[in-house]
């Protein structure tokens, strides 16, 4: 029996699709493009709100806890790209075509890519519509079937109990209801929701790994949320979020029950542990398996020495633990766009299938969107560079994401990439923010601890973080914090604030984290600069004697000159260091009140150079002076 088979209507050959009622005489568009855009925005809002709940269900194919985020970012990218389109002058087919194309380009993770395939099938189906007539429900029905079929056909090893099953039920029920009731498409969609909810409940029975993990499928849940958003099933003020324990809590409770029934004695705490375990309100347990374990445990407490019950609790607890802690065979979720006029999909599939698993390819014109789990993402990208033009690369470390999912201090990802810079000086912090830094860890005199850096990394809520500090002394703490972080981190080993500014000159949000890190490392030392400080003791270095209270200039970690007068040190430093540069910038500390005077004097002496000054607020040096 073909599990993936659909009603025969869906396979009607070459049906020309028109929109709306089958009663052509009274036909009027059910949905305008503007309305469709509103509907999709509503679905996006709902999905975005529920994403963390969906993330917590993510156990299949890999428990990396990002299904909700991936679906949200996929939809967000597609809707953002449509902002520049004149919605009042394009028809639904054109809207869907642009929407689907953007969705393909922005799709992330298995769930995002399968969703993009589903939409591509719908769009292709509706594209052939006779535009002089409105779209009928019948044609929407066929489009849903085509969307489902494309999603199944292009997914490697499609499984029942996932988002694909939900798509099938949606297509089947829509077909059934539109024949029976000639109603508005949204009313039909609303009618299907109970069927989808029932199917969602059944997903653990269809996919054993879900049952063992005690959850429904995350992608299927995400799909239900989307359909609810589309059908305006929920007002924005309502929520489908149920009280839920984190995965870490679920595993911990299960572990406690297991050790309790295995005979572990908790001494004086024995009674307390029992009270806590039996006192967990069942409404707070959304994990089906844990709920069963607790029920069995309560039964056991009433029927002492029941060996079978104990065995059953231990078995379920072990299953729960194993399912949430699998051996991740292929570590990196890798995605990219490949453009090629000569490649065909079958050839590409055969070229890529040996690199890992979960391969999904979406093909549109000369563009291939590729999703693959592999252990060699960089080698894979290099290989694919030989096949065509690569862009929009994204590599997620699923082991790190999994560690995050099951940890007690779970990070709730909101975005793909962030830049975290650790900096002294409030002026510099503002300057860096203005240059596009998303996150700043600002410190005054005391350098940040491992735990402060770890918190700052967590606060970025990003899967990928580019991180750097303005002092090499911070590097050891930074490296320790990185080992504790669950995000994928690229460390730029910088050691001064001017390099941080340079990082932001070279950072581009359209590049992925690896491309950015490469470009930044290549150009890290491109800005020439010196530092001016006041001596707090007498010393001699590089044959230059500096007396307490003198000012001295440091260039490339060496003292180049000193003098009693600050202005003299500055002017001589400029004369010594300037080459063909045309802009000299002063970043002063909090005592730099007279900087403007110094700058205007210098401006009159150096005609061909522009001088600018900014407040840096740094502790150590009176000035950083850059030459650009």
């Amino acid at each position: 029996m073909n599990l993936w088979a659909l009603p025969s209507t869906c396979t009607e050959p070459n049906v020309r699709i028109m929109l709306l009622n089958t009663n052509k005489e009274k036909a009027k568009p059910v949905i305008t493009t503007i309305r469709l855009n509103q509907i999709l925005h509503n679905a996006y809002d709902l999905l975005s709100r529920e994403k963390h709940y969906i993330n917590n269900l993510n156990v299949f194919p890999v428990p990396d806890g990002d299904t909700g985020l991936n679906m949200t970012l996929t939809l967000q990218g597609a809707l953002n790209s449509l902002k520049s389109y004149p919605l009042d002058s394009i028809d639904i087919q054109e809207y869907l075509e642009h929407f689907t194309e953007s969705m393909t380009l922005n799709s992330r993770g298995c769930s995002g890519v399968i969703l993009a395939l589903f939409c591509q099938g719908i769009s292709k189906s509706l594209k052939s519509t006779d535009k002089s007539e409105p779209i009928s429900n019948h044609h929407i029905s066929i489009a849903l079937c085509n969307g489902y079929e494309l999603a199944v056909r292009e997914t490697n090893d499609p499984r029942e109990g996932t988002m694909l099953t939900m798509m099938k039920v949606l297509a089947e029920r829509f077909d059934e209801y539109e024949k029976k009731e000639r109603k508005n498409v949204l009313i039909i969609a609303k009618r299907i929701i109970p069927d989808l909810e029932e199917t969602l409940k059944q997903t653990p029975e269809m996919l054993p790994v879900l049952k063992k993990a005690g959850v429904v499928d995350s992608g299927a849940m995400g799909f239900l949320v989307l359909i609810k958003g589309i059908a305006f099933e929920l007002e924005y003020s309502e929520s489908i979020i149920k009280p839920i324990f984190t995965i870490a809590n679920i595993l911990l409770i299960s572990k406690y029950v297991r050790s309790f029934v295995s005979g572990r004695k908790y001494g004086k705490q024995n009674h307390l542990v029992k009270t806590v375990l039996t006192g967990i309100p069942s409404k707070n347990i959304s994990n089906i398996n844990l709920s069963n374990i607790i029920n069995l445990f309560n039964n056991l407490l009433q029927k002492k020495d029941n060996g079978k019950l104990i065995e059953s609790i231990i078995q379920k607890s072990d299953e729960l633990s194993e399912t949430w802690n699998p051996n991740i065979k292929f570590r990196y979720c890798t995605e990219f766009i490949l453009e090629s006029v000569s490649l065909n999909k079958a050839e590409l599939r055969s070229n890529l299938s040996n690199w890992g698993d979960s391969l999904i390819i979406i093909h549109s014109n000369n563009i291939f969107k590729i999703h693959l789990h592999t252990n060699k993402p960089k080698a894979l990208l290099k290989f694919c560079e030989g096949l065509g033009k690569i862009s929009s690369t994204k590599i997620d470390d699923m082991k790190k994401q999994h560690r995050n999912l099951i940890s007690e201090d779970k990070a709730y990802y909101e975005k793909d990439m962030a830049v975290l810079l650790i900096v002294n000086g409030s002026g510099f912090a503002d300057i860096l923010r203005g240059l596009g830094v998303t996150d700043i860890l600002f410190y005054k005199k005391i350098k940040p601890s491992v735990s402060q850096i770890q918190n700052a990394l967590l606060k970025t809520r990003a899967k990928n973080i580019l991180v750097a500090a303005d002092d090499s002394d911070i590097l050891p703490a930074l490296k320790s914090a990185i080992t504790l972080s669950k995000s994928n981190i690229e460390l730029i080993e910088s050691y001064n604030v001017i390099q941080l500014i340079n990082i932001m000159y070279n950072y581009s949000e359209i590049q992925d984290i690896l491309q950015n890190a490469k470009m930044i490392r290549e150009n890290l030392d491109n800005i020439k600069f010196c530092k001016i400080a006041k001596a707090t003791r007498d010393f001699t270095e590089e044959n230059i004697t500096v007396k307490k209270g003198d000012f001295f200039s440091i260039y490339q970690n060496r003292i180049i000159l000193s003098n009693r007068q600050k202005e003299t040190v500055i002017e001589r430093s400029i004369l010594k260091l300037k080459d063909t540069e045309t802009l000299i910038t002063f970043y002063c500390d909090k005592n730099g009140n007279n900087t403007n005077k110094i700058v205007s004097k210098l401006q009159s002496k150096f005609d061909n150079i522009t001088f600018e000054s900014y407040y840096g607020g740094q502790n150590k040096y009176d000035y950083y002076i850059t030459f650009e």
Partner: protein
């Protein structure tokens, strides 16, 4: 027999009409709204006129989509005289309304005269550059299919970089796209944005930033060098550069000097700023378009 081909474009070309060496050329003017009053390019209403008003009166300005009536007028008068019409358009992401309108007209006239809409994916000198490359192709062939295919390759290998001292103009004109990330700096920076033919995102993209005019010119040179390396290009086919206020400005001279020093190329054209372009660039901007293949 040689085919009779008409080329149509808007007036956002980054080159002057006199630089277009093709007699069968018609162009439409984008409506420019300045303080709620409509203007179109003329001898009086030029880029210099608008920039002057930006500086002195702080006026607000925006552009509107091309008018369908203007296009139909051209197509109507051309349909019996020509075998085919090529319409070189600005990037569809930059003015989706114009693109949709042109597509509608193409479909409406499908049985009367073939219209080939070329989505240049570009603005300013990028559109002009694609237009000049098309004219060059007509000199060697009139095979429509091969010209169309070649044009796809040309647009994919066309890269425009704009140095915009004030991104506010791009923002107010609704074209900022991802380049928004370059806004709001405390440091005086010159942002470089680009329309990059081989990017899947055909909007305005943030390319880089620098504090000096030489530095941003270097950003452009380094970017195009990377593209040349990527496509194994020895010499660039055509470069168009222009300044919105003064083609003799030090920054454009510096860019020209860096190009001459660092890049191999076949042709360098100094373009001409157009009225509607000044709306989105504002004063002090300069641009360079590289057509690699």
């Amino acid at each position: 027999m040689k085919k009779k081909i008409l080329i149509i474009a808007g007036d956002n070309l980054g080159i002057a009409n006199k630089q277009i060496d093709y007699k069968d050329f018609a162009y439409m003017k984008f409506p420019v709204i300045i303080n709620d009053e409509e203007f179109k390019e003329s001898e009086e209403y030029t880029a210099a006129y608008l920039i002057e008003r930006f500086k002195k009166e702080k006026v607000t300005a925006h552009t509107q989509a091309l008018l369908k009536g203007d296009l139909i007028k051209i197509v109507e008068s051309a349909k019996d005289k020509y075998d085919v019409i090529f319409h070189v358009m600005m990037g569809s992401r930059m003015s989706a309304a114009t693109f949709q309108m042109c597509e509608q007209v193409r479909k409406e006239y499908a049985d009367i005269i073939p219209i080939i809409n070329i989505d240049s994916g570009q603005v300013v000198s990028g559109v002009g550059s694609v237009l000049l490359r098309l004219i060059e192709l007509f000199k060697t062939s009139d095979d429509i299919a091969s010209i169309t295919a070649k044009m796809t390759e040309i647009t994919e290998k066309t890269f425009t970089y704009l140095c915009l001292p004030d991104l506010g103009f791009l923002y107010r004109g609704g074209r900022i796209g991802k380049a928004r990330s370059l806004m709001g700096s405390i440091l005086k920076i010159i942002p470089v944005v680009g329309l990059i033919g081989d990017e899947t995102d055909q909007g305005v993209l943030p390319i880089g930033k620098g504090r000096t005019k030489q530095a941003v010119n270097k950003v452009i040179i380094e970017n195009i060098k990377q593209k040349m390396q990527k496509y194994k290009i020895e010499a660039i086919k055509q470069i168009v550069i222009l300044h919105m206020e003064d083609n003799d400005s030090p920054e454009l001279k510096d860019l020209e000097a860096q190009i001459n020093k660092e890049l191999k190329f076949e042709k360098l054209i100094v373009g001409h700023p157009r009225f509607c372009e000044a709306v989105h660039t504002g004063p002090g901007a300069w641009a360079a378009t590289f057509s690699l293949k």
